[in-house]
């Protein structure tokens, strides 16, 4: 008997739940064209609005304190487990990259492997970055003087169109490993892998609200990323124009902006794309004094 195919309604992963845009709007993405194929619809992707971004920030704010209070060891375990799960779902993820036209089959497989490695890399850093970035400072008195690394809070992430999975994860992992929570805008051109990533996150040990994924148009959302005062920092791959917009908004709302240029064609697979300094970008340093012997 002929079977009617069951197609998926893509939804974004926000606050541990799969939601549509509050506006109800969607935008179509096409399947990758075979050389002689006709264009055909892959899916209708939620076109999130600034209100969705606001709601995602509220969800992140709820999840933040608990996530930051967990031990670094526990956060490392959860990231590692995420890597394990991505490894076992690599076929599905590769398919998501290929079918949406983000990359060729060989490149997609490579990207998924690199994504797994990236998660493992930052999982390893979870209980070590503080030793590298923090310090016991020498002072002229009978005091210990510590510099400790603390998470900033809610971080906005604006992802690259190249490497829609690896790029996104390379921006998310160093942000959340230190106890930050994030609201990420997936690639506008290739949002589909982020939808599948959301399905993976939902069944991982990551508490709902720590990573919130939105899909939609940069034009509509970048201004709100810039001006929302509850977002403490932005980790973004942006055009010159968008960078200016972010910096103007950030000056008003006092947030940190880490902007990579979109035109630079960042090689996310390279060694240079991962570093403890990516973690440092979204850390606040607190210096405390403590009397010796007390």
């Amino acid at each position: 008997m002929a079977r009617i195919p069951v197609t998926k309604t893509p939804k974004v992963y926000v606050g541990g739940q799969f939601i549509r845009s509050e506006s109800g709007r969607v935008f179509p993405i096409q399947k990758k064209l075979s050389p002689k194929g006709q264009p055909s619809l892959l899916a209708n992707i939620p076109q999130c609005t600034r209100k969705d971004l606001r709601n995602a920030v509220e969800a992140a704010a709820k999840a933040g304190p608990d996530w930051a209070r967990r031990t670094p060891y526990n956060r490392g375990q959860i990231l590692y487990r995420l890597g394990e799960m991505l490894e076992s779902r690599s076929a599905e993820m590769t398919d998501a990259l290929v079918i949406s036209g983000a990359s060729t089959k060989a490149a997609a497989a490579k990207e998924v492997v690199a994504s797994v490695d990236r998660l493992i890399y930052y999982a390893g850093w979870s209980d070590k970055y503080e030793q590298v970035l923090g310090n016991t400072n020498p002072v002229a008195g009978p005091f210990f003087n510590f510099t400790v690394a603390e998470p900033m809070g809610i971080i906005g992430i604006i992802a690259d169109d190249a490497f829609p999975l690896l790029g996104l994860l390379s921006q998310i992992a160093p942000v959340i490993v230190s106890g930050n929570v994030c609201v990420a805008l997936a690639s506008e051109e290739f949002p589909y892998p982020a939808i599948v990533l959301g399905e993976l996150l939902a069944v991982s040990d990551l508490p709902g609200g720590v990573v919130n994924l939105l899909t939609g148009f940069r034009k509509e959302l970048v201004p709100t990323f810039a001006t929302h005062t509850h977002i403490r920092g932005v980790n973004a791959v942006v055009s010159q124009e968008e960078k200016k917009q972010l910096q103007l908004g950030a000056a008003e709302s006092i947030k940190r902006v880490r902007a990579r240029k979109r035109d630079d064609e960042i090689d996310w697979t390279g060694e240079k794309a991962q570093s403890v300094y990516e973690i440092r970008d979204f850390i606040e340093f607190k210096t405390t004094w403590h009397p010796i012997g007390a």
Binding site: R54, V57, A61, T224, T227, H228, T229, H230, E252, S253
Partner: protein
């Protein structure tokens, strides 16, 4: 009226099931019942109104001016009341934001609040009558009211005896309310029905009428204590404001309304205002006829006002906490 308290306790015996049914059905014959599905459909519509820009800002500011800024916790101190009063006087650095309508506190703390608010129009409201259960002997409850009033309370929030109401002792319920009205003197009275313990919309309407029949013009009826499991919803508030409307049309006496508990966001507050506007009209859109019993609501209102003015979403920690949520 003064010694009616003793009479009530004597006449209180649980009526048989049949008598209970009779007393309720007699009351419902008189005041009518509530169409549950209709009410819920109606209030669902209130949440679909599009209120933007200028009208939104007006609504938010009006809501601020209607807030009974509340703290009802065992750990309240005179110091905490001082900061609550400060917040009530000047909720925001923005001079455009009006002060709130009242602070709502426990009777013991009334004297402190009265001192802090002496030079303002902000009212001191005190819960009394063995809040939140109401399960103390009537003379003690009346004494609590008199003490709060003599300490400087402008408004008294009393609770009805839900047990008496549910066992059909309507006269006893009304006598108790009358006794409290008398004890209030010049102070305004708000009668808390504690709707979550009344089970049905019919009962909410019935209790509203019983209260309205004995309180004075300008007194209030109020949904909840905020201490029970359920609290104000658009639906039970709608039942009560429709009762107020029907009572007003029948008698010409205007009673105020105070939903309390569970109203935490500015958006909810606007929905409640829509309900008032579309049910009771503009005459009720001010703090002498309508109040919000809330604490965390105020900060969300301030947050949304700032958002309307600057265009940027605000972090909650930009606004001082007056009290923990209720």
């Amino acid at each position: 009226m003064g010694d009616s308290g003793r009479d009530i306790t004597r006449t209180m015996s649980p009526p048989a099931g049949a008598a209970l049914r009779t007393s309720f059905s007699k009351l419902f014959d008189e005041i009518g019942t509530v169409d549950q599905v209709g009410i819920e459909e109606r209030v669902a519509k209130f949440t679909t109104r599009s209120i933007k820009k200028g009208s939104k800002l007006w609504g938010l500011k009006t809501a601020v001016s209607m807030v009974d800024l509340t703290t009802l916790e065992g750990k309240d101190t005179p110091g905490k009341i001082a900061s609550l009063c400060q917040k009530a006087r000047r909720p925001s650095a923005d001079p455009d934001v009006p002060p709130v309508a009242a602070v709502c506190i426990y009777p013991f703390l009334v004297k402190y609040a009265a001192r802090w608010l002496a030079d303002t129009a902000i009212k001191v409201a005190s819960v009394a009558t063995a809040f939140p259960s109401g399960q103390s002997p009537l003379p003690l409850r009346l004494e609590e009211v008199r003490t709060a009033v003599s300490d400087g309370a402008d408004e008294i929030d009393m609770v009805i005896n839900r047990g008496l109401f549910l066992s059909g002792e309507f006269n006893a319920v009304q006598d108790e309310i009358s006794a409290v009205v008398e004890a209030c003197g010049d102070a305004q009275l708000k009668v808390i029905l504690e709707v979550s313990e009344l089970d049905t919309y019919d009962n909410v309407r019935a209790a509203s009428f019983l209260a309205m029949q004995v309180i004075r013009p300008g007194d209030f009826i109020k949904t909840s204590t905020g201490k029970a499991s359920g609290s104000a919803t658009l639906a039970n508030t709608q039942v009560m404001i429709e009762a107020i409307r029907d009572f007003y049309l029948a008698t010409g006496i205007a009673i105020g309304m105070k939903p309390a508990g569970g109203i935490k966001t500015a958006k909810q507050a606007l929905h409640y205002l829509v309900a008032v506007k579309e049910t009771l009209g503009d005459a009720w859109l001010n703090s002498s006829r309508y109040r919000f019993g809330a604490s965390s609501l105020l900060n969300d209102l301030l947050r949304q006002i700032e958002k309307e003015k600057t265009g940027a979403y605000q972090a909650p920690y930009y606004f001082t906490e007056a009290a923990e949520s209720y």
